[in-house]
Symmetry: C2
Protein backbone atom coordinates (compact mmCIF):
# COMPACT_ATOMS: atom_id res chain seq x y z
CA UNK A 1 0.00 0.00 0.00
CA UNK A 2 1.09 3.57 -0.67
CA UNK A 3 2.75 5.75 1.94
CA UNK A 4 2.17 9.48 2.29
CA UNK A 5 5.14 11.36 3.75
CA UNK A 6 5.10 14.95 4.91
CA UNK A 7 8.39 16.65 5.72
CA UNK A 8 11.26 18.65 4.37
CA UNK A 9 12.66 18.63 0.84
CA UNK A 10 15.78 20.72 1.01
CA UNK A 11 19.26 21.48 -0.17
CA UNK A 12 22.18 20.44 2.01
CA UNK A 13 25.72 21.79 2.03
CA UNK A 14 27.84 19.23 3.80
CA UNK A 15 31.46 18.79 4.75
CA UNK A 16 32.84 15.46 5.98
CA UNK A 17 36.37 14.01 6.14
CA UNK A 18 35.59 12.55 2.69
CA UNK A 19 34.81 15.80 0.94
CA UNK A 20 32.42 18.65 0.53
CA UNK A 21 29.20 19.17 -1.41
CA UNK A 22 27.25 22.34 -2.01
CA UNK A 23 23.45 22.44 -2.26
CA UNK A 24 22.91 18.75 -2.89
CA UNK A 25 19.35 17.44 -2.75
CA UNK A 26 18.38 16.48 0.80
CA UNK A 27 15.70 16.79 3.45
CA UNK A 28 13.98 14.16 5.58
CA UNK A 29 11.11 13.58 3.13
CA UNK A 30 13.56 13.13 0.25
CA UNK A 31 15.71 10.52 1.98
CA UNK A 32 12.62 8.77 3.33
CA UNK A 33 10.82 8.72 -0.04
CA UNK A 34 13.78 7.39 -1.99
CA UNK A 35 14.46 4.63 0.56
CA UNK A 36 10.77 3.62 0.77
CA UNK A 37 10.35 3.71 -3.03
CA UNK A 38 12.16 0.36 -3.33
CA UNK A 39 9.32 -1.30 -1.40
CA UNK A 40 6.07 0.53 -2.15
CA UNK A 41 4.44 3.60 -3.75
CA UNK A 42 5.29 6.89 -2.10
CA UNK A 43 3.45 10.22 -2.16
CA UNK A 44 5.20 13.30 -0.87
CA UNK A 45 3.99 16.58 0.64
CA UNK A 46 6.56 19.34 1.01
CA UNK A 47 7.31 22.88 -0.02
CA UNK A 48 10.22 23.92 -2.24
CA UNK A 49 11.40 27.23 -3.66
CA UNK A 50 12.03 28.51 -7.15
CA UNK A 51 15.56 27.08 -6.98
CA UNK A 52 14.17 23.54 -7.00
CA UNK A 53 14.81 22.42 -10.58
CA UNK A 54 13.05 19.99 -12.87
CA UNK A 55 16.10 17.74 -12.50
CA UNK A 56 15.72 17.83 -8.69
CA UNK A 57 12.11 16.70 -9.05
CA UNK A 58 13.11 14.05 -11.60
CA UNK A 59 15.31 12.43 -8.93
CA UNK A 60 12.06 11.59 -7.18
CA UNK A 61 9.80 10.87 -10.16
CA UNK A 62 12.39 8.51 -11.68
CA UNK A 63 11.88 6.37 -8.57
CA UNK A 64 8.11 6.51 -9.14
CA UNK A 65 7.52 8.93 -6.25
CA UNK A 66 4.30 10.90 -6.62
CA UNK A 67 5.28 14.59 -6.38
CA UNK A 68 1.86 16.17 -6.89
CA UNK A 69 2.05 17.30 -3.27
CA UNK A 70 5.27 19.24 -3.87
CA UNK A 71 4.31 22.90 -3.52
CA UNK A 72 6.43 25.58 -5.17
CA UNK A 73 6.53 28.81 -3.19
CA UNK A 74 8.18 32.14 -3.90
CA UNK A 75 11.67 32.25 -2.46
CA UNK A 76 14.43 29.73 -1.88
CA UNK A 77 14.18 26.14 -0.65
CA UNK A 78 15.13 25.12 2.88
CA UNK A 79 18.92 25.01 3.06
CA UNK A 80 20.95 23.23 5.75
CA UNK A 81 24.69 23.56 6.19
CA UNK A 82 26.53 21.09 8.38
CA UNK A 83 29.82 19.35 9.03
CA UNK A 84 30.98 16.04 10.49
CA UNK A 85 34.34 15.16 11.96
CA UNK A 86 36.00 12.40 13.99
CA UNK A 87 33.66 9.47 14.48
CA UNK A 88 31.00 11.32 12.43
CA UNK A 89 28.32 10.34 14.90
CA UNK A 90 27.00 13.86 15.26
CA UNK A 91 26.47 16.69 12.78
CA UNK A 92 27.58 20.17 13.60
CA UNK A 93 24.96 22.52 12.18
CA UNK A 94 26.62 25.57 10.63
CA UNK A 95 23.50 27.13 9.19
CA UNK A 96 19.75 26.61 8.89
CA UNK A 97 18.01 28.78 6.31
CA UNK A 98 14.36 27.84 6.58
CA UNK A 99 13.38 30.05 3.62
CA UNK A 100 10.02 28.87 2.17
CA UNK A 101 9.87 26.15 4.85
CA UNK A 102 9.26 28.83 7.51
CA UNK A 103 5.69 29.26 6.29
CA UNK A 104 5.06 25.65 5.30
CA UNK A 105 1.37 24.85 5.44
CA UNK A 106 0.92 21.28 4.21
CA UNK A 107 -1.86 20.89 1.63
CA UNK A 108 -3.10 17.41 0.90
CA UNK A 109 -4.01 16.76 -2.74
CA UNK A 110 -7.39 15.08 -3.17
CA UNK A 111 -5.67 12.12 -4.81
CA UNK A 112 -3.62 11.51 -1.64
CA UNK A 113 -6.54 11.41 0.80
CA UNK A 114 -7.13 7.67 0.58
CA UNK A 115 -3.55 6.86 1.68
CA UNK A 116 -3.50 4.30 4.48
CA UNK A 117 0.12 4.65 5.63
CA UNK A 118 1.22 8.06 6.86
CA UNK A 119 4.76 9.11 7.78
CA UNK A 120 5.16 12.33 9.72
CA UNK A 121 8.79 13.33 9.29
CA UNK A 122 10.47 15.72 11.70
CA UNK A 123 8.45 18.97 11.42
CA UNK A 124 6.44 21.16 13.82
CA UNK A 125 4.06 18.82 15.69
CA UNK A 126 1.23 21.30 15.02
CA UNK A 127 1.63 20.57 11.30
CA UNK A 128 2.00 16.84 11.96
CA UNK A 129 -1.34 16.89 13.81
CA UNK A 130 -3.01 18.96 11.10
CA UNK A 131 -2.00 16.48 8.40
CA UNK A 132 -3.05 13.53 10.51
CA UNK A 133 -6.52 15.03 11.11
CA UNK A 134 -7.10 15.38 7.36
CA UNK A 135 -6.42 11.72 6.64
CA UNK A 136 -9.58 9.90 7.73
CA UNK A 137 -8.73 6.61 6.01
CA UNK A 138 -5.30 6.26 7.55
CA UNK A 139 -4.55 2.81 8.98
CA UNK A 140 -1.09 3.36 10.35
CA UNK A 141 0.86 6.45 11.38
CA UNK A 142 4.59 6.52 11.95
CA UNK A 143 6.40 9.63 13.14
CA UNK A 144 9.73 11.22 13.88
CA UNK A 145 10.67 14.27 15.96
CA UNK A 146 13.77 15.98 17.39
CA UNK A 147 15.15 17.59 20.56
CA UNK A 148 13.84 21.08 19.61
CA UNK A 149 10.18 19.95 19.62
CA UNK A 150 10.71 17.78 22.72
CA UNK A 151 12.13 20.70 24.70
CA UNK A 152 9.95 23.59 23.59
CA UNK A 153 6.76 22.21 22.02
CA UNK A 154 6.01 19.42 24.42
CA UNK A 155 2.20 19.71 24.62
CA UNK A 156 1.81 19.72 20.83
CA UNK A 157 4.17 16.79 20.48
CA UNK A 158 2.31 14.76 23.10
CA UNK A 159 -0.91 15.26 21.16
CA UNK A 160 0.73 13.79 18.04
CA UNK A 161 2.29 10.91 19.97
CA UNK A 162 -1.11 9.69 21.13
CA UNK A 163 -2.00 8.99 17.49
CA UNK A 164 1.17 7.16 16.51
CA UNK A 165 1.49 3.49 15.73
CA UNK A 166 5.26 3.84 15.67
CA UNK A 167 7.50 6.58 17.03
CA UNK A 168 10.99 6.43 15.49
CA UNK A 169 13.62 8.46 17.36
CA UNK A 170 17.19 8.14 18.57
CA UNK A 171 18.71 7.30 21.96
CA UNK A 172 19.20 10.85 23.14
CA UNK A 173 15.66 11.83 22.14
CA UNK A 174 14.06 8.91 24.01
CA UNK A 175 16.00 9.75 27.16
CA UNK A 176 15.14 13.43 26.84
CA UNK A 177 11.46 12.75 26.20
CA UNK A 178 11.22 10.44 29.22
CA UNK A 179 13.57 12.38 31.51
CA UNK A 180 15.19 9.03 32.28
CA UNK A 181 18.66 7.63 31.58
CA UNK A 182 17.89 3.90 31.51
CA UNK A 183 16.85 3.01 27.97
CA UNK A 184 14.27 0.36 28.92
CA UNK A 185 12.59 2.51 31.57
CA UNK A 186 12.68 5.50 29.21
CA UNK A 187 11.08 3.40 26.47
CA UNK A 188 8.30 2.28 28.82
CA UNK A 189 7.60 5.89 29.76
CA UNK A 190 7.46 6.96 26.11
CA UNK A 191 5.14 4.06 25.23
CA UNK A 192 2.87 5.23 28.06
CA UNK A 193 2.61 8.59 26.26
CA UNK A 194 0.73 6.93 23.42
CA UNK A 195 2.80 5.38 20.63
CA UNK A 196 1.90 1.71 20.23
CA UNK A 197 5.50 0.84 19.37
CA UNK A 198 8.79 2.65 19.82
CA UNK A 199 11.83 2.23 17.57
CA UNK A 200 15.04 3.64 19.00
CA UNK A 201 17.92 4.22 16.60
CA UNK A 202 21.43 3.71 18.03
CA UNK A 203 23.44 4.97 15.04
CA UNK A 204 26.34 2.62 14.30
CA UNK A 205 25.05 0.10 16.87
CA UNK A 206 21.69 -0.57 15.20
CA UNK A 207 18.20 -0.07 16.56
CA UNK A 208 15.86 -1.49 19.20
CA UNK A 209 12.09 -1.86 18.95
CA UNK A 210 10.07 -1.71 22.17
CA UNK A 211 6.56 -3.10 21.97
CA UNK A 212 3.41 -2.57 24.00
CA UNK A 213 0.24 -4.57 24.38
CA UNK A 214 -1.11 -2.34 21.60
CA UNK A 215 1.66 -2.98 19.06
CA UNK A 216 -0.16 -5.67 17.10
CA UNK A 217 -3.75 -6.60 16.38
CA UNK A 218 -5.46 -9.98 16.55
CA UNK A 219 -4.05 -10.96 19.92
CA UNK A 220 -0.49 -11.01 18.62
CA UNK A 221 2.14 -10.04 21.14
CA UNK A 222 5.87 -9.50 21.11
CA UNK A 223 7.13 -10.53 24.52
CA UNK A 224 10.46 -8.78 24.34
CA UNK A 225 12.21 -5.92 22.58
CA UNK A 226 13.89 -6.65 19.26
CA UNK A 227 17.41 -5.53 18.39
CA UNK A 228 18.50 -5.10 14.78
CA UNK A 229 22.18 -4.63 13.96
CA UNK A 230 23.79 -1.89 11.90
CA UNK A 231 26.40 -2.90 9.37
CA UNK A 232 29.96 -2.11 10.49
CA UNK A 233 31.20 0.17 7.68
CA UNK A 234 34.84 0.98 6.95
CA UNK A 235 33.84 4.14 5.10
CA UNK A 236 30.99 6.45 6.03
CA UNK A 237 31.09 9.19 3.40
CA UNK A 238 28.12 11.23 4.66
CA UNK A 239 25.81 10.27 7.54
CA UNK A 240 23.20 12.92 6.61
CA UNK A 241 19.79 11.30 6.16
CA UNK A 242 20.78 7.90 7.58
CA UNK A 243 17.92 8.00 10.09
CA UNK A 244 15.37 9.05 7.46
CA UNK A 245 16.63 6.32 5.14
CA UNK A 246 16.24 3.82 8.00
CA UNK A 247 12.67 5.05 8.42
CA UNK A 248 12.04 4.72 4.67
CA UNK A 249 13.28 1.15 4.48
CA UNK A 250 11.48 0.21 7.68
CA UNK A 251 8.13 1.76 6.83
CA UNK A 252 8.33 0.97 3.11
CA UNK A 253 8.66 -2.70 3.93
CA UNK A 254 5.86 -2.58 6.54
CA UNK A 255 3.48 -0.90 4.09
CA UNK A 256 4.28 -3.51 1.44
CA UNK A 257 3.11 -6.36 3.66
CA UNK A 258 -0.51 -7.54 3.94
CA UNK A 259 -0.42 -7.81 7.72
CA UNK A 260 1.53 -6.37 10.65
CA UNK A 261 2.98 -9.24 12.69
CA UNK A 262 6.00 -9.49 14.99
CA UNK A 263 7.88 -11.35 12.23
CA UNK A 264 7.08 -8.64 9.66
CA UNK A 265 8.13 -5.95 12.12
CA UNK A 266 11.51 -7.63 12.67
CA UNK A 267 12.20 -7.82 8.95
CA UNK A 268 11.21 -4.15 8.62
CA UNK A 269 13.85 -3.28 11.26
CA UNK A 270 16.46 -5.10 9.17
CA UNK A 271 15.38 -3.33 5.97
CA UNK A 272 15.65 -0.05 7.84
CA UNK A 273 19.27 -0.83 8.70
CA UNK A 274 19.93 -1.94 5.13
CA UNK A 275 18.71 1.34 3.61
CA UNK A 276 20.55 3.38 6.24
CA UNK A 277 23.76 1.53 5.38
CA UNK A 278 23.41 2.38 1.69
CA UNK A 279 22.54 6.02 2.35
CA UNK A 280 25.84 6.82 4.07
CA UNK A 281 28.01 5.36 1.29
CA UNK A 282 27.74 8.53 -0.82
CA UNK A 283 27.00 12.20 -0.30
CA UNK A 284 23.36 13.25 -0.16
CA UNK A 285 20.87 10.92 -1.84
CA UNK A 286 23.24 9.66 -4.53
CA UNK A 287 23.36 6.06 -3.35
CA UNK A 288 19.61 5.89 -2.68
CA UNK A 289 18.95 6.97 -6.26
CA UNK A 290 20.74 4.06 -7.90
CA UNK A 291 20.74 1.10 -5.51
CA UNK A 292 19.04 -2.00 -6.95
CA UNK A 293 16.57 -4.38 -5.38
CA UNK A 294 19.14 -7.14 -5.85
CA UNK A 295 21.69 -5.16 -3.85
CA UNK A 296 19.07 -4.54 -1.16
CA UNK A 297 18.25 -8.23 -0.88
CA UNK A 298 21.93 -9.20 -0.80
CA UNK A 299 22.56 -6.72 1.99
CA UNK A 300 19.54 -8.00 3.90
CA UNK A 301 21.19 -11.44 3.83
CA UNK A 302 24.42 -9.83 5.01
CA UNK A 303 22.55 -8.37 8.00
CA UNK A 304 21.42 -11.90 8.85
CA UNK A 305 24.93 -13.23 8.42
CA UNK A 306 26.42 -10.72 10.85
CA UNK A 307 23.78 -11.30 13.54
CA UNK A 308 22.39 -14.84 13.36
CA UNK A 309 23.87 -17.81 15.16
CA UNK A 310 22.73 -20.32 12.60
CA UNK A 311 23.76 -18.53 9.45
CA UNK A 312 25.23 -21.21 7.21
CA UNK A 313 26.89 -19.08 4.53
CA UNK A 314 30.14 -18.69 6.47
CA UNK B 1 39.23 -27.99 28.80
CA UNK B 2 40.39 -25.97 31.80
CA UNK B 3 41.14 -22.26 31.67
CA UNK B 4 43.92 -20.56 33.58
CA UNK B 5 43.20 -16.92 34.41
CA UNK B 6 45.71 -14.44 35.77
CA UNK B 7 44.45 -11.10 37.04
CA UNK B 8 43.16 -9.21 40.03
CA UNK B 9 41.21 -10.56 42.98
CA UNK B 10 40.16 -7.53 44.94
CA UNK B 11 37.70 -5.78 47.18
CA UNK B 12 35.42 -3.16 45.65
CA UNK B 13 33.58 -0.34 47.38
CA UNK B 14 30.89 0.79 45.00
CA UNK B 15 28.13 3.37 44.95
CA UNK B 16 25.39 3.32 42.31
CA UNK B 17 21.90 4.86 42.17
CA UNK B 18 20.71 1.51 43.62
CA UNK B 19 22.82 1.57 46.77
CA UNK B 20 26.25 1.26 48.22
CA UNK B 21 28.51 -1.64 49.18
CA UNK B 22 31.76 -1.64 51.10
CA UNK B 23 34.62 -4.06 50.39
CA UNK B 24 32.62 -6.61 48.42
CA UNK B 25 34.54 -9.32 46.60
CA UNK B 26 35.58 -8.19 43.13
CA UNK B 27 38.46 -8.01 40.68
CA UNK B 28 38.71 -9.01 37.03
CA UNK B 29 39.90 -12.57 37.74
CA UNK B 30 37.05 -13.10 40.22
CA UNK B 31 34.29 -12.01 37.86
CA UNK B 32 35.91 -13.89 34.99
CA UNK B 33 36.37 -17.12 37.00
CA UNK B 34 32.83 -17.19 38.35
CA UNK B 35 31.29 -16.55 34.91
CA UNK B 36 33.51 -19.15 33.21
CA UNK B 37 32.91 -21.74 35.96
CA UNK B 38 29.44 -22.49 34.54
CA UNK B 39 31.08 -23.82 31.38
CA UNK B 40 34.43 -25.38 32.27
CA UNK B 41 37.12 -25.85 34.95
CA UNK B 42 38.89 -22.67 35.99
CA UNK B 43 42.27 -22.17 37.65
CA UNK B 44 43.16 -18.79 39.06
CA UNK B 45 46.44 -16.97 39.67
CA UNK B 46 46.28 -13.82 41.77
CA UNK B 47 47.60 -12.24 44.93
CA UNK B 48 45.47 -11.34 47.96
CA UNK B 49 46.23 -9.89 51.38
CA UNK B 50 45.64 -11.03 54.92
CA UNK B 51 42.15 -9.48 54.79
CA UNK B 52 41.05 -12.09 52.24
CA UNK B 53 38.97 -14.48 54.33
CA UNK B 54 38.24 -18.19 54.09
CA UNK B 55 34.68 -17.19 53.18
CA UNK B 56 35.99 -15.02 50.32
CA UNK B 57 37.91 -17.98 48.97
CA UNK B 58 34.93 -20.29 49.46
CA UNK B 59 32.97 -18.10 47.02
CA UNK B 60 35.36 -19.39 44.38
CA UNK B 61 35.86 -22.96 45.56
CA UNK B 62 32.09 -23.51 45.88
CA UNK B 63 31.97 -22.94 42.11
CA UNK B 64 34.74 -25.52 41.67
CA UNK B 65 37.38 -22.89 40.91
CA UNK B 66 40.92 -24.10 41.59
CA UNK B 67 42.48 -21.54 43.96
CA UNK B 68 45.87 -23.16 44.47
CA UNK B 69 47.35 -20.20 42.54
CA UNK B 70 45.95 -17.67 45.00
CA UNK B 71 48.98 -16.25 46.76
CA UNK B 72 48.59 -14.65 50.20
CA UNK B 73 50.95 -11.76 50.80
CA UNK B 74 51.57 -9.56 53.81
CA UNK B 75 49.37 -6.50 53.68
CA UNK B 76 45.92 -5.69 52.39
CA UNK B 77 44.23 -6.85 49.17
CA UNK B 78 43.81 -4.58 46.15
CA UNK B 79 40.91 -2.22 46.91
CA UNK B 80 39.00 -0.18 44.32
CA UNK B 81 36.49 2.52 45.16
CA UNK B 82 34.17 3.77 42.46
CA UNK B 83 30.78 5.29 41.71
CA UNK B 84 28.29 5.29 38.87
CA UNK B 85 25.59 7.81 38.08
CA UNK B 86 23.20 8.72 35.28
CA UNK B 87 23.29 6.16 32.49
CA UNK B 88 25.90 4.19 34.49
CA UNK B 89 27.96 3.60 31.37
CA UNK B 90 31.17 4.79 32.98
CA UNK B 91 32.66 4.30 36.44
CA UNK B 92 34.13 7.22 38.29
CA UNK B 93 37.18 5.90 40.15
CA UNK B 94 37.38 7.44 43.61
CA UNK B 95 40.30 5.41 44.87
CA UNK B 96 42.76 2.71 43.80
CA UNK B 97 44.71 1.11 46.64
CA UNK B 98 46.97 -1.41 44.91
CA UNK B 99 48.29 -2.76 48.24
CA UNK B 100 49.73 -6.28 47.73
CA UNK B 101 48.90 -6.05 44.01
CA UNK B 102 51.65 -3.43 43.57
CA UNK B 103 54.28 -6.16 43.83
CA UNK B 104 52.32 -8.93 42.14
CA UNK B 105 54.67 -11.49 40.62
CA UNK B 106 52.52 -14.29 39.18
CA UNK B 107 53.70 -17.77 40.16
CA UNK B 108 52.35 -20.69 38.20
CA UNK B 109 51.74 -23.85 40.28
CA UNK B 110 53.14 -27.01 38.70
CA UNK B 111 49.62 -28.43 38.51
CA UNK B 112 48.52 -25.52 36.29
CA UNK B 113 51.28 -25.82 33.68
CA UNK B 114 49.40 -28.17 31.37
CA UNK B 115 46.50 -25.72 30.95
CA UNK B 116 45.62 -25.19 27.28
CA UNK B 117 43.39 -22.11 27.58
CA UNK B 118 44.93 -18.97 29.06
CA UNK B 119 43.15 -15.74 29.93
CA UNK B 120 45.31 -12.70 30.60
CA UNK B 121 43.05 -10.27 32.44
CA UNK B 122 43.86 -6.56 32.58
CA UNK B 123 47.28 -6.36 34.31
CA UNK B 124 50.73 -5.02 33.38
CA UNK B 125 51.60 -6.46 29.94
CA UNK B 126 55.05 -7.38 31.27
CA UNK B 127 53.34 -9.79 33.67
CA UNK B 128 50.98 -11.00 30.94
CA UNK B 129 53.99 -11.87 28.76
CA UNK B 130 55.81 -13.54 31.65
CA UNK B 131 52.87 -15.84 32.36
CA UNK B 132 52.42 -16.62 28.68
CA UNK B 133 56.08 -17.62 28.31
CA UNK B 134 55.78 -20.12 31.15
CA UNK B 135 52.87 -21.97 29.58
CA UNK B 136 54.42 -24.11 26.82
CA UNK B 137 51.35 -26.28 26.28
CA UNK B 138 48.93 -23.40 25.77
CA UNK B 139 46.64 -23.76 22.77
CA UNK B 140 44.71 -20.52 22.97
CA UNK B 141 45.39 -17.18 24.62
CA UNK B 142 42.76 -14.52 25.18
CA UNK B 143 43.60 -11.16 26.69
CA UNK B 144 42.23 -7.87 27.96
CA UNK B 145 43.90 -4.52 28.58
CA UNK B 146 42.98 -0.88 29.35
CA UNK B 147 43.72 2.72 28.37
CA UNK B 148 46.56 3.04 30.91
CA UNK B 149 48.64 0.28 29.27
CA UNK B 150 47.74 1.46 25.77
CA UNK B 151 48.93 4.99 26.49
CA UNK B 152 52.04 4.39 28.56
CA UNK B 153 53.21 0.80 28.06
CA UNK B 154 52.71 0.44 24.33
CA UNK B 155 55.79 -1.60 23.41
CA UNK B 156 55.14 -4.18 26.13
CA UNK B 157 51.49 -4.42 25.15
CA UNK B 158 52.33 -4.91 21.47
CA UNK B 159 54.55 -7.83 22.42
CA UNK B 160 51.63 -9.51 24.24
CA UNK B 161 49.21 -8.77 21.41
CA UNK B 162 51.31 -10.72 18.93
CA UNK B 163 50.64 -13.87 20.98
CA UNK B 164 46.89 -13.45 21.35
CA UNK B 165 44.24 -15.56 19.72
CA UNK B 166 41.59 -13.13 20.92
CA UNK B 167 41.89 -9.56 22.19
CA UNK B 168 38.79 -8.48 24.11
CA UNK B 169 38.52 -4.71 24.65
CA UNK B 170 35.95 -1.93 24.45
CA UNK B 171 35.14 0.68 21.81
CA UNK B 172 37.23 3.46 23.26
CA UNK B 173 40.23 1.17 23.73
CA UNK B 174 40.16 -0.07 20.12
CA UNK B 175 39.99 3.48 18.80
CA UNK B 176 42.79 4.57 21.13
CA UNK B 177 45.00 1.60 20.23
CA UNK B 178 44.54 2.20 16.49
CA UNK B 179 44.53 6.01 16.60
CA UNK B 180 41.47 5.83 14.35
CA UNK B 181 37.83 6.81 14.89
CA UNK B 182 36.12 4.46 12.42
CA UNK B 183 35.47 1.16 14.22
CA UNK B 184 36.05 -1.11 11.20
CA UNK B 185 39.28 0.59 10.16
CA UNK B 186 40.43 0.65 13.80
CA UNK B 187 39.66 -3.08 14.11
CA UNK B 188 41.68 -3.85 10.98
CA UNK B 189 44.64 -1.91 12.35
CA UNK B 190 44.45 -3.74 15.68
CA UNK B 191 44.24 -7.13 13.94
CA UNK B 192 47.37 -6.18 12.00
CA UNK B 193 49.14 -5.80 15.36
CA UNK B 194 48.84 -9.53 15.95
CA UNK B 195 45.63 -10.78 17.59
CA UNK B 196 43.99 -13.37 15.38
CA UNK B 197 40.52 -12.16 16.38
CA UNK B 198 39.25 -8.98 18.00
CA UNK B 199 36.13 -8.75 20.16
CA UNK B 200 34.94 -5.20 20.80
CA UNK B 201 32.51 -4.66 23.66
CA UNK B 202 29.91 -1.89 23.17
CA UNK B 203 28.40 -1.91 26.68
CA UNK B 204 24.59 -1.78 26.49
CA UNK B 205 24.71 -2.20 22.69
CA UNK B 206 26.39 -5.60 22.67
CA UNK B 207 29.68 -6.62 21.09
CA UNK B 208 31.25 -7.11 17.67
CA UNK B 209 33.82 -9.73 16.65
CA UNK B 210 36.24 -8.87 13.85
CA UNK B 211 37.98 -11.83 12.24
CA UNK B 212 41.19 -12.22 10.27
CA UNK B 213 42.47 -14.90 7.94
CA UNK B 214 44.13 -16.34 11.06
CA UNK B 215 41.01 -16.56 13.25
CA UNK B 216 40.26 -20.21 12.58
CA UNK B 217 42.23 -23.27 11.63
CA UNK B 218 41.52 -25.88 8.99
CA UNK B 219 40.72 -23.44 6.20
CA UNK B 220 37.66 -22.09 8.03
CA UNK B 221 36.88 -18.45 7.43
CA UNK B 222 34.41 -15.94 8.72
CA UNK B 223 33.69 -13.56 5.86
CA UNK B 224 32.20 -10.78 7.95
CA UNK B 225 32.17 -9.40 11.47
CA UNK B 226 29.62 -10.80 13.91
CA UNK B 227 27.43 -8.66 16.14
CA UNK B 228 25.95 -10.03 19.35
CA UNK B 229 23.26 -8.05 21.17
CA UNK B 230 23.19 -7.03 24.80
CA UNK B 231 19.96 -7.53 26.72
CA UNK B 232 18.06 -4.28 27.29
CA UNK B 233 17.79 -4.15 31.10
CA UNK B 234 15.36 -2.00 33.06
CA UNK B 235 17.55 -2.20 36.13
CA UNK B 236 21.33 -2.21 36.19
CA UNK B 237 22.26 -2.44 39.86
CA UNK B 238 26.06 -2.45 39.44
CA UNK B 239 27.96 -2.54 36.13
CA UNK B 240 31.28 -3.41 37.82
CA UNK B 241 32.76 -6.54 36.27
CA UNK B 242 30.30 -6.73 33.36
CA UNK B 243 33.16 -6.84 30.84
CA UNK B 244 35.04 -9.51 32.80
CA UNK B 245 31.84 -11.54 33.11
CA UNK B 246 31.35 -11.22 29.36
CA UNK B 247 34.90 -12.53 28.91
CA UNK B 248 34.21 -15.42 31.32
CA UNK B 249 31.05 -16.54 29.54
CA UNK B 250 32.66 -16.10 26.14
CA UNK B 251 35.92 -17.91 26.90
CA UNK B 252 34.34 -20.49 29.20
CA UNK B 253 32.06 -21.61 26.39
CA UNK B 254 34.92 -21.62 23.83
CA UNK B 255 37.10 -23.75 26.10
CA UNK B 256 34.24 -26.21 26.64
CA UNK B 257 33.97 -26.94 22.92
CA UNK B 258 36.05 -29.53 21.06
CA UNK B 259 36.77 -27.25 18.12
CA UNK B 260 36.92 -23.54 17.34
CA UNK B 261 34.61 -22.82 14.41
CA UNK B 262 32.76 -19.66 13.31
CA UNK B 263 29.53 -21.16 14.66
CA UNK B 264 31.10 -21.91 18.05
CA UNK B 265 32.58 -18.40 18.17
CA UNK B 266 29.14 -16.84 17.56
CA UNK B 267 27.58 -18.84 20.38
CA UNK B 268 30.45 -17.83 22.65
CA UNK B 269 29.67 -14.16 21.92
CA UNK B 270 26.07 -14.77 22.99
CA UNK B 271 27.14 -16.54 26.19
CA UNK B 272 29.41 -13.58 26.91
CA UNK B 273 26.43 -11.25 26.69
CA UNK B 274 24.35 -13.62 28.82
CA UNK B 275 26.88 -13.69 31.68
CA UNK B 276 27.38 -9.92 31.46
CA UNK B 277 23.63 -9.42 31.75
CA UNK B 278 23.47 -11.53 34.93
CA UNK B 279 26.51 -9.85 36.51
CA UNK B 280 24.94 -6.37 36.55
CA UNK B 281 21.72 -7.51 38.25
CA UNK B 282 23.30 -7.42 41.72
CA UNK B 283 26.23 -5.74 43.45
CA UNK B 284 29.64 -7.35 43.08
CA UNK B 285 29.68 -11.04 42.23
CA UNK B 286 26.43 -11.91 44.03
CA UNK B 287 24.46 -12.88 40.94
CA UNK B 288 27.35 -14.82 39.40
CA UNK B 289 27.58 -16.91 42.55
CA UNK B 290 24.06 -18.27 42.40
CA UNK B 291 22.86 -18.25 38.79
CA UNK B 292 21.91 -21.70 37.50
CA UNK B 293 22.73 -23.41 34.24
CA UNK B 294 18.98 -23.49 33.51
CA UNK B 295 18.79 -19.71 33.89
CA UNK B 296 21.82 -19.33 31.64
CA UNK B 297 20.27 -21.48 28.93
CA UNK B 298 16.93 -19.67 29.19
CA UNK B 299 18.67 -16.32 28.82
CA UNK B 300 20.65 -17.62 25.85
CA UNK B 301 17.29 -18.35 24.19
CA UNK B 302 16.15 -14.86 25.12
CA UNK B 303 19.19 -13.41 23.36
CA UNK B 304 18.13 -15.31 20.24
CA UNK B 305 14.57 -14.10 20.62
CA UNK B 306 15.59 -10.44 20.75
CA UNK B 307 17.90 -10.66 17.74
CA UNK B 308 16.77 -13.36 15.32
CA UNK B 309 14.29 -12.81 12.49
CA UNK B 310 12.98 -16.33 12.54
CA UNK B 311 12.50 -16.79 16.26
CA UNK B 312 9.22 -18.63 16.62
CA UNK B 313 8.59 -18.30 20.34
CA UNK B 314 6.87 -14.90 19.98
Amino acid sequence: MAILVVGSVAFDSIETPHGKVDHCLGGAATHFSLAASYFTDVRVIAVVGKDFSAENEAVMTRRGIDTRGLERADGLSFHWTGAYSGNMDEAKTLGTDLNVFANFEPKIPEAYKDTEYLFLANIDPVLQARVRSQMPKVKMVCGDTMNYWIADHRANLEKVMRELNVLLINDGEVRMLAGEKNLVVAAEKVLAMGPKTLVVKHGEYGATAFFSERSFGGGLKARHPFRAPALPLAEVVDPTGAGDSFAGGFYGYLASQPELTPAVFRKAMFYGGVMGSFAVERFGTERLQNVTREEIDARFKLFQEISHLDYTGA
